[in-house]
């Protein structure tokens, strides 16, 4: 039990990114007064990035939501929990009765614990009766989950972070690792110091690219061509691992036919990367044994996101760089618990552990466990839900800890949808732009006020511990959900989160052996963890792919949906910056982070700026076919000519007013990385 009057240090996990660094919250008399790194943690080893170091500040911020709010005649009124829960349960029940369960959409959160995500998906499926549940992974790694499930049978990082430092080749494509996953970046620099070769493929000159032995600056949206062309070289030069392909993969011939179409000189015309560099990178990657491939949003956030991911998988299989320590394919997941939210089935087509809702046996298992008939048709994805609001198929939404108005593409469209909803519930820690549209706002707690588990990007399920009592009148998400569910006539009785974990373990093969008491004091367990004595799995696909044989799925080049043209001559790409996180709910209430990067800046190549008559630090207007924003210009050669980079954290210059909601046909991930814009100085 926490003693609230002493100076204590509570071990827990950083609430920002998917690295999942271990840190202590320093607590004195119920006050959080600081943070320090856990020295022996396998990810951060006594270090933290600036966000981790400053993660204490927002927890007790006075702007925290203090009590439930109910909107009456357009203004929010303070309410009691009783009243708010009754209202939410009543309205959701009514809407379900009049329009059917599929008229309700639920958005879970990659910031919430596994236990909460599991409960939210249970709430959607069993209490409401719909598969319309999704979360922000749709916007970052749905292409990974989809792409790798078909290729390997499992859509997660195949290796562990602590293996990185001993790899011999690191191929980093579409990941600004030192800024977005700083502690993974640290292990990469260690590897380079120990003699590894670093290949970076990124249109921007990122910090990690400064350490690269080979930096390929492909044009944004041409990754398939670059990867295909590397594979073309590998096949042509006989660097293929034939026994591996014969023994462990299928569909090679069809794949090879496509790859033949992409010799380096053809690729050069599309990607802008010289054949010499393509060949060099291909040879280095193929010929070294301990080669790890890393990718992130630069691969996934395209209409060809799934194709990009598949191409990465193809490259690994072609060279047999998979299934061993320091050898594999590693998607770096963004949010602290986005891996867990996916694992828990906060997705429209699967239950926890990626068990498909269309699979009768899986459905039956969950029906038995939950005592309810469950819908068999996959639900709507997050991106589709908002469209469905406009066509009146969705009448009500329940949004937990997300801020789609800032994070989703084409904000004007989202705004229209939010306005149109009959009933909107938002559950969050601070008032957000999305919450302004809600009928009921419910105050939830931060990571410091609850127990549960987060799963980091290397599949490590780690326990977070409660450091202080819930602030003001807030409640943990899992409690709120169970109360509402109860009121809706579906009982959820859990005394604490470890009881939820027990249920998860029972129903989820990959989490079968993961129980709270096993996670205390040993930095968690990496799934698959198949029974209560299983030690966890540091690397995947040993001897055999999760689905048996690995499948080559060839991908042809499809250009981005919207390319620069006469009217909109620049290519806009969006992303994060080191000092901020997502829509800024937490970091922008942290004085150090906010001071470091207080306003939205558009990175522009100095040559372009010169032509357009734009000065460093001056205000400019950036417009796309969908909207216009005003931002400050930041001249730098980090971006190449013809490209503009704008981070998406800033509500006052919300770049998602500009982005294109074009979706990958399979994963439904929007194309955040490419759209066409024009720029002009503000006079």
């Amino acid at each position: 039990m926490v003693n609230y009057h002493k100076m204590d240090k509570i071990p827990t996990i950083c609430p920002y990114c998917g690295c999942g660094c271990g840190l202590y919250l320093h607590v004195e008399e119920g006050n959080i007064i600081g943070v320090s790194p856990i020295r022996h943690h396998p990810v951060n080893r006594g270090a933290l990035c600036v966000k981790g170091w400053n993660s204490f500040e927002f927890i007790q911020h006075p702007e925290r939501l203090k009590y439930p709010l109910i909107k009456e005649n357009g203004v929010f009124k303070k309410s009691s929990w009783d009243e708010a829960i009754r209202l939410v349960a009543g309205r959701l029940t009514d809407i379900k009765k009049s329009y059917g369960p599929d008229s309700i959409g639920v958005m879970s959160s990659a910031k919430c614990t596994n236990e909460e995500n599991y409960l939210i998906m249970k709430f959607a499926r069993a209490a409401i009766g719909t598969n319309n549940i999704d979360h922000c992974a749709r916007l970052c790694h749905s292409s990974t989950v989809g792409g790798l499930a078909v290729a390997f049978g499992s859509g997660a990082m195949t290796n562990s972070i602590s293996e990185i430092a001993d790899a011999k080749v690191l191929f980093v494509i579409g990941s600004n690792t030192t800024e977005q996953h700083p502690m993974i970046g640290m292990h990469m620099l260690d590897a380079v110091d120990k003699g590894a070769t670093l290949i970076v493929a990124d249109p921007r000159r990122t910090q990690i690219s400064e350490f690269a032995h080979i930096h390929l600056r492909q044009k944004s949206g041409t990754d398939v061509v670059l990867l295909n062309s590397m594979m073309n070289v590998i096949i042509n030069e006989g660097l293929v691992d034939i026994p591996f392909i014969k023994r462990r993969t299928e569909n090679f011939d069809a794949f090879e036919r496509v790859i033949r179409e992409y010799p380096p000189d053809v690729a050069e015309k599309i990607t802008g990367v010289s054949p010499h560099d393509i060949k060099k990178a291909a040879r280095v990657y193929a010929t070294e044994k301990r080669a790890m491939l890393f990718y992130s949003m630069g691969i996934t956030q395209h209409i060809t996101g799934v194709d990009n991911v598949r191409s990465c998988a193809n490259l690994c299989m072609l060279t047999a760089h998979i299934g061993q320590p320091m050898t594999g394919l590693n998607p770096l997941r963004g949010q602290n618990n986005v891996q867990g939210a996916c694992d828990m089935g906060a997705l429209p087509d699967v239950y926890s552990g990626y068990q498909k809702v269309i699979e009768p046996s899986a459905r039956k298992k969950f029906e038995q466990a939950w005592g309810r008939k469950l819908p068999s048709k996959p639900g709507l994805t997050l991106t589709e839900m908002f469209d469905a609001v406009l066509t009146e198929r969705i009448k009500a939404m329940y949004i937990v800890g997300e801020n789609p108005l800032i994070s989703d593409p084409d904000s004007s469209h989202i705004r229209e949808a939010l306005e149109k909803l009959d009933f909107l519930v938002v559950q969050d820690i601070f008032m957000s732009d999305t919450a302004e549209f809600a009928d009921v706002v419910l105050p939830a707690v931060t990571f410091a006020e609850k127990e549960g588990t987060f799963t980091n990007t290397e599949r490590r399920v780690q326990k977070i511990n409660r450091a202080i009592r819930p602030m003001y009148g807030s409640m943990p998400d899992w409690r709120i959900i169970s109360e509402i569910s109860k009121k809706m006539g579906y009982n959820m009785e859990y005394r604490a989160t470890h009881e939820i974990m027990e249920e998860i373990a029972l129903l989820t093969p990959s989490y079968r052996g993961i129980l709270h008491h096993r996670l205390d004091g040993n930095f968690g367990l990496q799934w698959p963890c198949l029974d209560p004595d299983h030690p966890g799995t540091p690397f995947l696909h040993r001897k055999k792919f999760a689905k048996g044989l690995g499948t080559f799925i060839p991908a042809d080049y499809i250009p981005p949906k919207e390319s620069p043209d006469k009217k909109f001559p620049f290519l806009l790409t969006t992303g994060r910056i080191y000092f901020h996180y997502h829509t800024g709910t937490m970091c922008r209430r942290t004085s150090t982070l906010e001071r470091e990067y207080p306003e939205c800046c558009a990175e522009i190549n100095p040559e372009d700026a010169n032509t357009a008559g734009i000065k460093h630090n001056s205000m400019i207007k950036v417009s796309s076919r969908r909207g216009t924003i005003t931002v400050r210009a930041y001249l730098t050669d980090r971006v190449s000519k013809g490209t503009i980079f704008i981070p998406f954290h800033f509500r006052e210059a919300s770049v998602n007013l500009l982005t294109n909601p074009a979706l990958d046909p399979l994963a439904k991930i929007p194309e955040y990385k490419v759209c066409a814009v024009r720029i002009e100085p503000v006079l």
């Binding site: 002493k6 100076m7 600081g34 790194p37 006594g46 933290l48 040993n522």
Partner: protein
């Protein structure tokens, strides 16, 4: 003042238990999985006596990462100076040396009320290091592994007993009442201590001479390309400053609770951030990372000696543990000596 005593190890728990009745006892305790951290001692027998360097440094007890300075409202202001009595057991010699410099900084020409209030009510018991960590280099700086003065109380572990050296009134105040627990040291006790000091010195893995680094910089032969190579590896995490027992920077912010009420806080800050020197209308005097990394080293290696006659580093090795870019003091001092490329 200086006064020496002997304390049988079997008497330690009793003594600490009595002291705990009057003051909050903080000591090295097991944290997560092999970690040892300084926190409130709940069970005295769980104190880890033979512990490695602790992160973060004990400066957090005098100058916490986040400190409320005063509250304000339409009614006036309310000061939050913290004067809780605390005994911090098990810090290391390098930390004591650092606190000595902090005292001069915060209690010198300008008196920092918040620091002083805490300092006056805190007693430190340091334990001389019989087992230095691989990251330690206090031996070259005279800031450890054992000190001859500057401590409140210094323990030397002599096997079955401690040689207890009392170096301040603060220290004396917690021994005086319990004189029946202590005995007079014999010559053989000092001999044993001397042996412990010598064997400790022999165990250091690092040999770092900061004076070499200083002279190298002063000679003007260190090119900016050297510092560019350092800056390139900086993650701008701030860890080096947060962890360093000597870094003193803070930022002051106001938090509004309501239209008529708020609180003024100070938070740890670091010169490694570009916003540290931010000025109005978007002027960032130290925008380039190289200016900031260089400044940190110049401050510690050049300006500290000018101001205080000592380096701004006590060789605790914490930045070596915490710097994700591996551009910590020990590494850079070494590289200054051999040049950037020969690592």
């Amino acid at each position: 003042m200086k006064k020496d005593m002997i304390l049988e190890k079997s008497n330690l728990s009793y003594w600490l238990r009595q002291l705990r009745k009057e003051m909050l006892l903080i000591g090295p305790m097991h944290g997560e999985n092999g970690d040892i951290v300084l926190k409130t001692v709940e069970n005295i027998h769980e104190i880890v006596l033979d512990c490695p360097a602790l992160i973060p440094s004990p400066k957090e007890f005098l100058f916490p990462q986040k400190e409320e300075m005063f509250g304000f409202s339409t009614e006036g202001t309310k000061n939050y100076r913290n004067s809780k009595r605390r005994l911090i057991f098990g810090v290391r010699s390098c930390d004591v040396s650092a606190i000595g410099l902090l005292d001069r900084f915060y209690g010198g020409k300008f008196i920092d009320d918040y620091y002083t209030a805490r300092r006056e009510n805190t007693v430190f018991i340091s334990v001389g290091c019989n087992k230095p960590d691989p990251t330690c280099f206090c031996n070259g700086l005279g800031t450890g592994p054992f000190l001859s003065s500057g401590f409140d109380i210094q323990f030397s572990d002599l096997g079955d007993r401690y040689l207890v050296e009392i170096g301040s009134e603060h220290g004396l105040s917690i021994v005086k009442k319990f004189s029946h627990l202590f005995s007079k040291p014999q010559k053989s006790d000092y001999d044993d201590q001397y042996e412990a000091i010598l064997s400790s010195h022999a165990m250091f893995e690092k040999r770092i001479n900061l004076e070499n680094a200083r002279q190298k910089i002063l000679s003007g032969s260190v090119e900016d390309s050297f510092w560019a190579g350092v800056a390139e590896r900086c993650f701008e995490c701030g860890g080096c400053v947060y962890e360093c027992p000597l870094c003193t920077c803070f930022n002051v912010i106001d938090r509004k609770y309501s239209a008529i009420e708020g609180v003024r806080l100070r938070n740890w800050d670091t010169c490694m951030f570009r916003g540290f020197t931010k000025m109005a209308v978007n002027v960032w005097p130290a925008e380039k990372k190289i200016m900031r990394t260089k400044r940190w080293y110049f401050h510690k290696l050049l300006y500290y000696p000018e101001q205080f006659g000592r380096f701004g580093c006590v060789g605790c090795g914490r930045c070596t543990i915490t710097c994700p870019g591996r551009i910590d003091m020990a590494t850079i001092a070494y590289r200054l000596k051999v040049g950037n490329n020969e690592d």
